[in-house]
């Protein structure tokens, strides 16, 4: 129990993020060639645990960071607001809530944040 690395928020958010990424563009960047099809295969057997040997956990963490970086650098104006986003839990809550709202609205995510 004390060493449990199950991330319930990742389990909640992964389907949402994959649905939003269905525009077919790369999830990480063009060099990585990590597309939605690859992502679905990689994440299909993931137990949502961030353990040392986990391949899926590394990709989810990198993907989450990429999305957060984009929001941080491109969508948030002002140094104070960026610091609040980057240095507190508020950024993650905002990111997840925003992704869920986009999914409900049926908006292609890359039109929103890319």
């Amino acid at each position: 129990m004390a060493v449990d690395t199950l991330d319930i928020q990742a389990r909640l958010m992964l389907p949402t993020l994959l649905d939003l990424a269905l525009s077919g563009k790369s999830l990480l960047n063009e060099d990585e060639e990590f597309h939605v099809g690859v992502a679905r295969a990689v994440f299909s057997n993931w137990d949502y645990r961030f353990s040392k040997e986990s391949n899926s956990a590394s990709m989810y963490a990198a993907w989450e960071y990429m999305i957060a970086t984009y929001l941080h650098e491109m969508k948030i104006e002002g140094v104070t607001a960026r610091r609040n986003f980057g240095y507190t839990f508020m950024g993650e809550h905002f990111l997840n809530r925003q992704a869920q709202e986009w999914q409900k609205a049926g908006k292609p995510v890359y039109e929103e944040w890319c």
Binding site: V3, I8, D31, T69
Partner: protein
């Protein structure tokens, strides 16, 4: 990570997420930190029970954990003879050449505890104090 480990299929979380056991005072002195600090891979996220906290932005970067679980203790109130402890690294983590520098780490990562004996009731201490009673001023 793509540059260091190639295709995403080769990525592992331990390559990505790390933390350092800082040493006082040598972590603050350039060149000495490499010798005196202990570096290892972290598990978990800020959202998991086995917590590792890392800021996504800032001086340390997104995957350098700045805080994590460092100590665990289990106390059985029905057993006064022992308690069970777990530490993240070792009792001599500040000592560069100690063989006990990181000997607790394996147990800690596995979620195991070591038993530490306590005096328990062997000293046959007896209650000598007066039993305290609490009452409101309405009872006076």
């Amino acid at each position: 990570m793509g540059q260091a480990h190639g295709a995403v299929e080769n990525w592992k979380y331990k390559y990505l997420y790390t933390y350092r056991f800082l040493h006082t005072p040598f972590s603050e002195i350039p060149g000495f930190a490499y010798l005196y600090e202990v570096k290892d891979s972290a598990v978990g996220t800020p959202r998991t029970i086995n917590m590792s906290w890392a800021q996504k932005f800032g001086k340390l970067g997104p995957f350098d954990a700045t805080a994590s679980t460092v100590y665990r203790q289990v106390i059985d109130l029905g057993d006064s003879t022992a308690m069970h402890l777990a530490m993240d690294l070792g009792t001599q983590q500040q000592s560069l050449f100690s063989t006990f520098r990181s000997d607790f780490r394996e147990l800690f990562d596995a979620g195991q505890y070591f038993r530490l004996e306590t005096p328990g009731n062997e000293d046959e201490l007896k209650e000598t104090g007066v039993t305290m009673k609490f009452a409101t001023h309405f009872d006076e």
